[in-house]
Assembly symmetry: C2
Homo-oligomer: 491 residues x 2
Amino acid sequence: MAKARERLPKRIYQSRVRQLRKALLRLQMDVKSAPFKVLLIIAGPEGAGRGSLLNTFAEWLDPRGVETFSYHTPTDEEKSHPHEWRFWRSLPGIGRIGLYAGSWYTETLREEARTERARKHVVEEAERIRDFEQLLARGGTLILKVWLHLSKEAQGCRLRTLSAEPLTAWRVTEEDWHHHRIYDRLDKTAELIRSKTNRPGARWTSISAEDERRRDLDVGRLLLTRFRQQQRKMARLQAFAAVPAPVSLRPAGRRRLQTLPLDQELSEQDYAALREKWLGRLSLAVRAAFAAGRAIVIVFEGWDAAGKGGAIRRLTSAIDPRDYCVISVAKPNPEEKHAHYLWRFWRDVPRDGRMAVFDRSWYGRVLVERVEGFCREDEWRRAYGEINGFERHLADHGTIVLKYWLHISHAEQLRRFREREITPHKRHKMTAEDWRNRRQRGAYEVAVGDMIALTHRPQAPWHLVPADNKRYARLEILRSASKQIEATLER
Amino acid sequence: MAKARERLPKRIYQSRVRQLRKALLRLQMDVKSAPFKVLLIIAGPEGAGRGSLLNTFAEWLDPRGVETFSYHTPTDEEKSHPHEWRFWRSLPGIGRIGLYAGSWYTETLREEARTERARKHVVEEAERIRDFEQLLARGGTLILKVWLHLSKEAQGCRLRTLSAEPLTAWRVTEEDWHHHRIYDRLDKTAELIRSKTNRPGARWTSISAEDERRRDLDVGRLLLTRFRQQQRKMARLQAFAAVPAPVSLRPAGRRRLQTLPLDQELSEQDYAALREKWLGRLSLAVRAAFAAGRAIVIVFEGWDAAGKGGAIRRLTSAIDPRDYCVISVAKPNPEEKHAHYLWRFWRDVPRDGRMAVFDRSWYGRVLVERVEGFCREDEWRRAYGEINGFERHLADHGTIVLKYWLHISHAEQLRRFREREITPHKRHKMTAEDWRNRRQRGAYEVAVGDMIALTHRPQAPWHLVPADNKRYARLEILRSASKQIEATLER
């Protein structure tokens, strides 16, 4: 058996715990006002004491500032959503520390990876986790990952001691012994996973679990140090004021927008007939998609007064009200503001066989937030890739993603604004903000152009809809939605 | 074919719509600051236009103040929770109007109830719904239920017209025709359900669906009238100031509390041995319960400093961290404050095979809210029955409910308060509120006594735990939890 380091004497331990607890409580006060979330992930082999460590932290910390999360094998509700959905659902609230036993690593860490194929699967899972953590870390979340190290000898010794004592024998299960026998293989998998997921902002720290007292103190100190580092880092970042930069990253996108013809004509009569035709076709396409177990996400973006609401109501009239919901995206509430900007949209991702229609969406990040300087330049520049990644997750799961930009001319917008102002039941739609946005048309055109050029992807294409003629626009949406859904199902 | 009333001319309709929309927008402003939620439930036979009515309302109302809900057949996640869980999950947020197509009635309305047995089942479901609605209505929620009336003749006429026109034929499904054929039977079921669920605060209103325009206007006006009535009613209720009444409803409960012996002794050594023994037994009992598909709910209530946190940590150390979560109940946040007091607890009800431990609970309604006058007397008096009903829902579903009151003497509490104040890492636990609560011991004893006497039920019994000796209390909890779980499984 390996010679263990001498155990930390109880008296010294207790005096250090007192200091540590004071510091941790101060930290919790600071977390409440910190503009970031803290995730503490504890992983390690059986017997390393993940549970007892989390219990100790539950005792040291003020429980009102802590949330504990864990994962079982996925439920059918979880299975009928994209893989990452369950992780997004389990992030701590504002000003709270999330404690995770195993977290998103639990299942992958149990794989033995004996064959090349199994190894490849582990690597894929690890890369998924890495991408998810990178997204959070870049968004300012502090992710601490602790690997509790315990040698095979020490593990065996611990299991034997517990088993020998009648009073504690119940703590050791058959599965524990099995994992002990295959210790080396599991250890290898764990090493592989750690190396693949050890990235800036989400580093692994290995801590010895042989002495419980040192282990708990080490994890506590790690939390303190990293939190203070993150605080300084966030303060530095906040110091850079956001400067709106109305310079096109992809001028082609803006040109496409500016050259879109807007002079379509369509009589009331032709519209009525064609609308019923395409509503019928859309209804069939949607039912076929649901029958095939597909979910549908439809994004509506467009200028103020471009007619998003009306278009959504026409479109949804073809669908069973129990099968869809419309999500009107307003300004984020305080909780959402402190979370990753994609967080609130993950919550509304539809399950298989359902549809979610977004009246404005995650594209706010690269539109209003970019133009108004609500986020930093590095943040909105990064968002194009993050959004493509998000939509790829949806598409990979089988969700059909439709995106519409409703385009109206500057003159038509003015006409509609004025009409709204004189119609009593429409007046509430007009705010000073609408007029302010209107004056920023140029800056918004740059942003819209970049958005279209940088996030137009085969699995989630943009449809530019000429919308000066409302009837034409509504029809165009019904038509292209039907066709895109049909085409996806034929693939 | 029945002679339909003359259709409302378009011009008159449009002018009335303009007035109505103005009034509805004013109503929505008021809903935002109203201390109650509004639920609008639309039900009726095929062809009555539930979908188109909701679409019209979506157009008339400001969508940011509206949420739409609907129910499918339950998912496995929903099935593994008590029946009412899915309804509690789908209530609108503060200041919002919830629109429901069918809502909790959908499934029951589809039953034909041809046999006596089927009829009995429909009645049972209707009574469940009635109880749920009564709970909400008494809590101040405004529930409007509209039955769109359409005769069999008018329904047939509508289906034929749609089918005859190639452009609209897709709107009529085989199921619609089936429901048309069994119109009379379905109508009878619907009548039965309406009569069973037509209660104060949740009345049905029958509105003719033969003319779409009149139908939409009628529902709009109903919403306006009822909302103003509810506003006046709530204002009257608010006018009665809450008066804390420290008078026992059931003096026996208080006597039981006051005569509880608190002088138990237990050496550190005996405790250590017995703890491991009972932890082991509890661990087995919990695993057996989970294996049998049962969920477990444990409630911890007790005096400030009675040792709830420590007891919870000892108890949970016997359980796989992935199988339980601890819910620390703090003051309600603004959203929770405006909701029914049971709402936030429904969200945390565990699914089958899991455990939820509540550090304080729904009993706050009859403890702190009663004593401090945070709710009216009629509210806390009603709560005993409501809580028994809630726990019965849990027990009926198979959930095992354990409740602990941790009891310490006035003198022991003082000793612990003083100790907390001189221990740096415990000081944050002490607030001015603790000292204030302490001075109210008498009033709280009355409330605790009533709680114990009025909510001690075979399916959810109270355990009074003498807790002046912390070790004894922790052991007592392990012991009685093991025994109650074992006994429930043997039944």
